[in-house]
Symmetry: D2
Subunit: 343 residues, 4 copies
């Protein structure tokens, strides 16, 4: 058993970490922090945890977290970077679910996130925690930058094509639809049920922060430049990302189905559906699974990859637990062996 802490557990990714970690067979939850709710029993604040967790929120800081083997940051961008250096100095390993350590180019990060970075040296050592790309590096990482929700789906969808040099990398298109939980658990008019249900729209049409993250990952995969049009859409549901990815094939003779199945054959959480099936977010809801499909409509030269994940699990907390499992040598599926509840 290792001891885990969660910083910022009152948001949606923190809430989901709580759900996963209280049932993880090799983890004891040691500390759950929240500035606003310090002193409140976690199970009073989140009644779904009644009977499963007997902790109160505490103030964040090394004091609260010093006994932990691993600390998860489920905080707004800009928070982890101020606290992580002290933790790793104290020998605590970190999985950061925010964006603080995802972008290697500090200038790019500052431009998109609108602030100075507090610890560029930690960025340099942090491992980008997409296990399907960086599993080996993750084993010994002190700091894992857990990928964003969209970047997980888009990178894993494009990866077999881009890494194998099969498509025109200059005009990739990612049309992504996310449930409202992707916007986080903060009070905002735009995410009220009355505003966001019975409605569909593209948002951040002039540039979403996940664009540089996706470009960085796919560029690394092909060792070249990536031209990507990334269009996120707010979808009237709680959880789930559906991504439809479009790329122009350089050669239409390839058997895309076989390519994808081979590429992900040994991955525990990436599942290539049978030909003709379409990934549906509800089939992966609450789980760490990513469902993929690939097709070539009308036999043309456009490859379409369809992906479905739960933005809070494979797109956030579940992938964070998967990374923890890798870091500590646990079975990679430990605590993540969940069947989606239908309907």
């Amino acid at each position: 058993m290792i001891k885990a802490g969660i910083v910022g557990a009152t948001g949606y990714t923190g809430q989901e970490l709580l759900r996963l970690l209280v049932k993880h067979p090799q983890v004891t939850l040691q500390a759950v922090t929240s500035r606003g709710e310090a002193g409140t029993a976690v199970a009073r604040y989140f009644p779904n945890l009644r009977g499963s967790l007997d902790l109160a929120f505490v103030e964040p800081g090394v004091d609260a977290l010093g006994d932990c083997d691993v600390v998860f940051f489920a905080t707004p961008n800009g928070t982890a970077m101020t606290q992580v250096p002290a933790l790793i100095d104290a020998g605590i390993r970190v999985v950061d679910l925010s964006a603080d350590f995802r972008i290697r180019d500090i200038d790019v990060w500052s431009k998109w996130y609108g602030m100075e970075h507090a610890c560029p040296d930690v960025v340099a050592e942090a491992v980008y925690g997409l296990p399907e790309m960086y599993r080996e590096e993750t084993r010994s990482a002190r700091v894992v930058a857990n990928p964003g929700c969209y970047p997980t789906a888009v990178q894993l969808g494009f990866l077999p094509l881009v890494k194998n040099g099969l498509v025109d990398n200059s005009r990739l298109i990612a049309d992504c639809k996310s449930g409202v939980s992707g916007a986080g658990r903060s009070a905002s008019i735009g995410n009220l049920l009355c505003e966001a249900s019975e409605s569909m729209k593209a948002y951040k049409i002039n540039g979403h922060r996940h664009l540089p993250e996706i470009r960085q990952g796919l560029s690394a995969a092909c060792a070249g430049n990536i031209g990507l049009t990334f269009m996120p859409h707010l979808t009237p549901m709680i959880r789930g990302i559906q991504a439809s990815l479009y790329a122009t094939l350089l050669d239409t003779d390839i058997d895309l189905q076989a390519l994808f199945e081979d590429f992900y054959r040994n991955e525990p959480f990436v599942d290539v559906l049978d030909a003709g099936m379409s990934p549906d977010t509800r089939n992966v809801r609450g789980t760490n699974n990513l469902h993929l499909a690939v097709c070539r409509p009308q036999g043309g030269d456009i490859a379409v990859v369809l992906a479905a994940e739960d933005n809070l699990v494979k797109g956030a907390a579940g992938q964070a637990v998967q990374n923890m499992n890798i870091m500590f040598g646990f079975k990679e599926t430990a605590g993540l062996d969940i069947v989606a509840a239908l309907p």
Copy 2:
């Protein structure tokens, strides 16, 4: 490990049994039947089970189910009663999630369900599987009649009041709101998303089949007559029952909060919330928990009990697994130790 079969697994209660049983530590799924889908891989039909279940649907019958220790019926009313006698003759124990064995008075059953009963003798021996009332009888039962979704919430809500003779039993009111999954997984215009979402209405206003079931249970609890107005409402969500129960107190000096807490202190799945809290269906979604609260608005003589459950879990498949656990001497919470996913 025992071997379990499911008859009629393509509906919502069957689907939920699948989810729970594939992860149950003491159960092997032996046979899953469906007339319409015989031959189809279950995980092809329900893609949420990909990687978790390697069975195909088979035709129902003793041939398919003969090796089972327990068989669950998740069939429409009227099916189990034709198949159960042969199974129990073969030494197989049965948990029936339909209404075939719930009503002891055969005439009442026939009137409300519109058919002759095929095996009144099995009704006579069947145990009504509400563990909080009939746990002991369930241990040795050959046939358990798993309670209906509304009857579970309404009986458990009224029970502390009725059993203790604290209220006027002649004018109980149960105003119940159910998610649409309560209507089952059959094609009907009324349950289309376009008809049932963004809408709220009472239905079956002149009498719902769960009325005699609730009356039977509460009458047994108080050894007297029950006058009950039961009004079900179709609520625009997938899962969940919220019940608001109203009763006139015979004596307003009673400490209702203490009464309820004491009454359910040792029940693993009935949770009386702190005073002032209101049970919310989302906090029990996907779990076998029933959340209860009790209050006396404006200090008057009307007691209001609020209950929330997942109609497919504590109201159906979860309670069926709980009953199986009791029948086979497993820990009562085995396979049901689930935290609701929020949001």
Copy 3:
């Protein structure tokens, strides 16, 4: 044509007033105020109004509203009472959609609303704008207190029974379910799509502000005391109130269907459905109609009245327009002749 102003038009009732008034055949929108959005084009803020309204929000005050014949307050409680006296002194008639002028007993109002009242004398002259009760008084009113959403449905549902002395007034029960728009358009975590959808719960279980308003109205109708248990529930939809009302009949020989049909025969917006039908909120969505049904389940002595309305129309802005029509001698249905859009 009269000139109308709206104070506080960025909330849901204001938004709905805008929709109704821009198409009203006898109204010109003269001024739409908002402190926060002064200077912004209304149709930029609410793109549904593009092409229908060419006004910008202005700062509130007599300056902005001095040319109006009628001003609607769609403001939080406590705002109208500070501005209405100056407006009526200037000869402007007022329809207040907030609660400031609804409760005649100032002490009761202060207790439930938590503030001192700024103009008790205006309360004394204000007419409670439930046309089915106070149509005549409304014609000449300077200030109309537009009823709350729940009080509209509950009073109109109980009225035929209570006014005719047919039920035990000491134990009325109103179990009400409201869409989330009833909570208004302010940023709050509890009303986020992720919190309020796929969920059902009672709220304000120890007392909702609409309780004294309903009691006042029904007490006036029966010239006696009313004992009411009022339980509101947050329902996962945008619009609509469904109310299920329970009362004990003093005499079960009455023909309830005929009673209700006669009672509301001449009302343009109250529609008693055929026996056996159940009011569904979607059938009145976006309209000023209230659908009613009445039944006596199992032929017992409990009368159940079912009501459905759109909380933002008959429960707020539509009733406000209806009141304006009465005040200015327009046809009562002017601007309100709308068919609900199904699905």
Copy 4:
């Protein structure tokens, strides 16, 4: 006043025609047909019409429709083609909301719709009723083929680019998201609330019937070939289509905003939003408006057009009424001057 009939009014497009036509200032509803519901009062079947329509459904046929000036077909594909010849012989003009007369190439139609065409000669004379393209031809048409829901949004979105030769026509991509009402009002498991809500997926990934219709229209606009990848997605809401359209610009110097504004300047129902805004389906819900936006993310050579419409109005019944208005010389906006209800 003209007399109108509706064939097949029990589906969603028929229901929407009823809503629009009962309030149309120049139309009297003469006959509403339904085989299954003949004899039932329409307002009993659709309670939203109580008080607005005093007709019963009748059996279809020239007998019922002979007095009409115009007949709308809101029937499944394959029905109108068997009945329209007799009607036009009787001098009745027709607007067909099904696909029977949309595709000029009979072989293409037969291939995609899986049946022989019953009256190719009527196809030859039918006018494709997209007013923004064929307004003049519509004025004198005997038969108008009302466009499909997706084709309306996709064609109007691409039209300014394609007609002006500004993009690579060989690799257009249309990623479209539709509410569930697009699937029609027939009982199917896939469209149950429990299956379609809280879920997102692409469907008909190997080819949707609207593909040849869109290709035909855009090919006509550019007098050339169109290569189109069209991917429809089932979105968890009742109404609305959001389309995100991607095209490679041949020249990035063009001012796309000005181009679009100019192109649609005189269109009453196509509204180009201000730069930076994103069309949201709720802003056009229940209305005949199409909202458009155009942008060039990151200043690259991919033009993105965003479109939002109500699939049942501009995508079906509203456009049908618009076509009727054109055919009979009414003001084009008659009966369609509606403000979307927010929220």
